[in-house]
Symmetry: C2
Subunit: 330 residues, 2 copies
């Protein structure tokens, strides 16, 4: 049996649809016993309002669209967790759409029009023109770690340059010299900035930068570590641009009989939950992506409430120095 509509309720209760709407939405100007009658009829029919229709006439959906690259690995899952926590606290639903690496993904943004009140986009490796072309005109949109496409949108930007620089400082301070960087994919904003910060710090210390290119997946950490094992003069530190690559490398080093951090230090980036649990615990830069996600929802909600916000909010990652870089497992 199909769902009952407001007209079915009106007919069964012998009132007009306007009255049903008012009675069920608590609009005050309905006689008390009539209101109760309508409510009981609605309950008896198992009436549930059609949210789609409702939001069409209200021009309000109580939903936020979320666009992420993918859900692989803990990083974006953590982001989504933070978004979700804040959204449900505010009674908002989430409409999810992942780009899965392919640039076509932006087109799914079109399908969000009319279904959401605001948008949260996290897309570090999207083509700027593409993003700009698909960015909806009349929808509050919070950008997290996206290319610079507009000064009109509230943004979160991670200070990758300073953070990567700080990580090199940490490694140099603990006596490392041959520090290799395993980067994320070219074209990814976070990846490029981390390379820049790494290179600047290396150069400042008179060390020569060496960058291997990875793709943020565990396997590319595995591959990079195997490559390093073959070197005649082996690196004494590997700084990976995210935690999963660092962990992939860590496992390979240990399996090859090297001890971490004595033979080689390993550091990551992001501080995903997993980082604390590997042995030795992984040194990394804490980004706090779940908190950023939650805050993004708050900013979107504030804009919906009428505030204006075009601020670029900078996030400064914090170093988490753990056993994978600081020797003497004291």
């Amino acid at each position: 049996m199909a769902h009952a509509t407001i007209r079915d309720v009106a007919r069964a209760a012998n009132v007009s649809i306007a009255t049903v709407s008012r009675a069920l939405n608590g609009h005050g100007n309905v006689r008390a016993n009539l209101r109760e009658h309508v409510q009981s009829v609605a309950a008896a029919l198992g009436y549930v309002p059609h949210t789609g229709a409702r939001s069409l006439s209200l021009a309000r959906t109580n939903a936020i669209g979320v666009m992420l690259p993918d859900l692989h690995g803990e990083f974006y899952s953590e982001a989504l967790r933070g978004i979700d926590a804040e959204a449900s606290a505010r009674g908002l639903q989430l409409l999810l759409s992942n780009m899965h690496g392919d640039q076509r993904g932006t087109e799914t943004l079109r399908f969000m029009r009319g279904r959401v009140d605001a948008l949260i986009i996290m897309a570090p490796d999207i083509d700027p023109e593409r993003l700009l072309a698909h960015l909806p005109a009349s929808l509050p949109t919070v950008l997290i770690s996206c290319p610079d496409v507009s000064a009109d949108h509230p943004q979160f930007r991670i200070d990758n340059v300073a953070a990567a620089d700080a990580m090199v400082e940490h490694l140099v301070a603990s006596g490392r010299r041959r520090i290799v960087h395993l980067s994320g994919p070219r074209g990814n904003r976070d990846a490029e900035e981390r390379i820049a910060g790494y290179s600047a710090a290396m150069t400042r210390h008179g060390l020569s930068p060496r960058v291997l290119t990875g793709d943020f997946e565990e396997e590319s950490g595995t591959a990079a570590a195997q490559a390093l094992l073959g070197d005649t003069e082996r690196a004494d530190a590997l700084f990976a641009a995210n935690d999963m690559m660092a962990i992939g490398a860590l496992v390979v080093f240990q399996r090859a009989g090297l001890s971490v951090p004595e033979d080689i230090a390993v550091a990551g980036f992001d501080d995903i939950p997993l980082a604390r649990f590997v042995t030795p615990a992984l040194t990394t830069m804490r980004v706090g992506i779940a908190e950023i996600g939650a805050e993004a929802v708050s900013r979107a909600a504030a804009i919906l409430a009428g505030e204006s916000d075009t601020e670029i909010r900078w996030v400064a990652p914090q170093i988490k120095a753990r056993a994978s870089t600081i020797g003497g497992a004291a």
Copy 2:
């Protein structure tokens, strides 16, 4: 500026809204050059169809509602990842709604009516009457690990009893006798069934069951391990009802100077990605929740395509014996 509507396009192109609709949706019966004209006008105006309105008249949303307990910990994140992968492969969007432990969460199901074509519900600790009361009548709904409320819905059920039994067998086979079970919260279906399987196997071997009650969170693993450390005759194996509790306990044991698995074996349940990475790697039961999530989407899609499906599909977890229970770190 507000978004352009189909009427704006029609006016600007000097045609009727019907023609615009047909031209943009590729309905064939539009003169070729008129179609192009309409398309260029639409592009010039930055017209994007209002998906909400579209799905109201089509009675089709191309979205699936997903209801999970929460996104804490990797288990449900993995489930969502599987669901998401299959959904985007099929061009479906996901509308997310978490219950966050409180039973009120089911009410958010109401807000899904009219917004989604089908529903996937994973709710091992929901009150059956509540679930039944809020289960929408006319929406394909796939249940994963839910209480028995209906024979009319496609379901996935995890064979927790057999799996917990098998884990006890594994521990007994490796010489353990004082095997303690750290359960999930009372009222949670998975938790109760794992207790049952554990108890049955223990009794069969003439061993006395001992169950500590946890809540599936890491902290309750920590607490349980601390409690066990105080025992005079200490347990020689801890079988936790999920991986996070097992890992919490593992850390405490090691910090207290015990060696795992020599002094005490530790086993979990779920095989979350993290389980492979702790040291020693965690023995666990692989549920394959991401695959289940993906399959749930496929079943929902099949029902939407007209198939009928009221099958209860049983999932048999596979044991992953790793170093946390099998001695001799060979």
